[in-house]
Symmetry: C2
Subunit: 423 residues, 2 copies
Amino acid sequence: MKAQDVIILGAGIIGMSSAYYLQKNNPGKKILVVDREPGAGQGNTAKAAAMFRNTFSSRTSQVLSDTSINFYSHLQNEVNYDIHLKKTGYLWLLGRRQFREYSSIIRRMMEREIEIRILKKDELNKIPKLNLELNKNHEETKYLGLENIHKGLLGSKCGELDQSELVRFYREEFEKLGGETLFNTKIHRLIITPKNEFGGPPFVWQNPKITGVTTNNGEIYGNRIVLATGAYTHELLDPIGIDNHSKPKKRQLFQLECSDLEELLFVKNFNEHGILPFTILPKSEVYIKPDETTKRFWTGCADDLGRPFSLDVTPEKSFYEFNIRPIITKYFPQFENARIANKLAGLYACNTIDGNPYVFEEYGLIVISGCSGSGIMKADAIGRIVDALYRKKEEAELYGSVMFRVSDISTEKRNVENEEFVI
Amino acid sequence: MKAQDVIILGAGIIGMSSAYYLQKNNPGKKILVVDREPGAGQGNTAKAAAMFRNTFSSRTSQVLSDTSINFYSHLQNEVNYDIHLKKTGYLWLLGRRQFREYSSIIRRMMEREIEIRILKKDELNKIPKLNLELNKNHEETKYLGLENIHKGLLGSKCGELDQSELVRFYREEFEKLGGETLFNTKIHRLIITPKNEFGGPPFVWQNPKITGVTTNNGEIYGNRIVLATGAYTHELLDPIGIDNHSKPKKRQLFQLECSDLEELLFVKNFNEHGILPFTILPKSEVYIKPDETTKRFWTGCADDLGRPFSLDVTPEKSFYEFNIRPIITKYFPQFENARIANKLAGLYACNTIDGNPYVFEEYGLIVISGCSGSGIMKADAIGRIVDALYRKKEEAELYGSVMFRVSDISTEKRNVENEEFVI
């Protein structure tokens, strides 16, 4: 195979967005996307809840998501490329203590004109059967440590899209421009080549750089390599001693079915679609996500302490039963009889120190890391930043002519605020 | 065993300094240090070059090292506790390009009154046989990419100490205050206990915290746990899903013997001890460290790309032969006939994003991370910061009444400059 100008490893949403902007802004360059799956977006991208929000406390996460959402809306409404985007909203149900803790963040978001609104109890009461007041004498409520719901916080420039359609868009456009893909190709390791050849392993004085990959389909060489392998990134980087500042953790999604749920699904008042927003409960970040098509709900929650960093992706029914169910049914009794209709587990590439993604270059390798949890909602911006870094531009032009300093999310000259509003 | 107030995991220099300040400032508290080695400071602490410097570009690294050096000097000169501290200096030999690259950092260090001085060629010429000008026509010099030496940079508040004596000081003082140690005890895993007991694994709603460790000598419980396990930290944290923001990498030291070396060892002009400073060459951070007692030199170098993250600690003779030797002998021909008299390999806990250490608390666990490379030279300050964090103080009082904001080296409210002056 002839040497590529750019090899992009990983055909998830981040890899495909990067591929598109690289090919678009570097016409004539030979760009190849490699992935072990048979198609694009079939790894952890496919296992994401595919929600989007622009409600972040840090400017960086806010601008990355906001401009990406604007681009996705443009696709949906102006280009008429149907990615099933619906601004159904995010609704945080907050306890009194929580509301107090978040108050300065909420104020800051309002000052920055992020589209959020505080909801009082009378508005929340329109949600069928929602228990704003829990029975404090109930033994289970006590040991679960559940709070009454004090306020709601509604983000209206938030919602859902179909990530497979969004990936398809980037792939089609990339291929129209001459970009190539190589699927069913497992990457084994990165190839390091000394600048000044001498034979043997690269020595410290050889100024080595990363020039290719070995795969089950042979070696592939390229001038620059882009690593968009998400939660698997450390598998390629640990053996050559580069830190990607992120570790993989299982995150599970459970689809719940119950005859009582339809009423909860179709709630007016919160958005033009007449669907309940993506709703986050006041405990352990348990959320419910309406699925209009199946008339079911997806649910999940954060499990930080005790969940190992690993590549295990086995969903556990017991995780729902013991962690999510006790909480969800206290606030929404209609889930009492719900059964798990579907379950899936994907990998988060989590734990960046400041909650923002990384895009940095070392030894000819551009690494994208720590996007999980908000990868889809920031993918358009990330792709443009990767292209800007490739072209050695100081600033990337995000959608809507918003300029973004590329080094702000690098490692060496990182300049971000801590993201404090994690759902 | 009765539950401890504090368990410190790891009796290296960082663990013992922390133990001392915790016991000193929390009299009456039951504090236990646990380590798998038969004594303190016998892990990677023992494998360090044990050099110290206060020449850093970031204020954080500068103040941590500077105050620690002041304390060590106080120990040596006023307390008369012999830790074999000698301010023999650090001498960077810089090529023209390097000197240009570092110029703004050097200027900043001078503005901050860090004790450095630029040396011209006539001063460097006093070093026996040092080649300031390399033979550019020499094939090997070319492919090694070696530069002529343009300037020297001498840090005078830099030098060496005996880490085993420093560890002994902290341990003796800790034990005098009633602190206890438990050696030959391998830690298997951290114990997570729910705040509200319910049986079974900790569930997300239980507000679990870390309350103990299982070891080959049984379970040990404590109110707070301090993790000072250096390069092994991820082995305890990965299984419970907490990121320590650092990965382990092998670093090697080679002791070189040669009859010609004595003249190089005892050089006047640079310090009151009449010994060559710790000297860093203009390529790949190759250094030589004089060993007055054995009349030998230690040498090592950074090998970033290609050196995997792993716990391997096998020293490789070939690493010296192919990586260090070609460079060292071009500048110092007297190493031409040197043979390896001793070699050792330790583990670096490297790659914090900004080059500064981490001290943070999660779920009752205080984690110290990413100290390697400058752990010994910052240990006194780190120990005081750990104690301040334990006592929930906003500021730690470092030696010489220097106040330091504890959260500055945390994860959540991190506030550090990137460290750009890595030797």
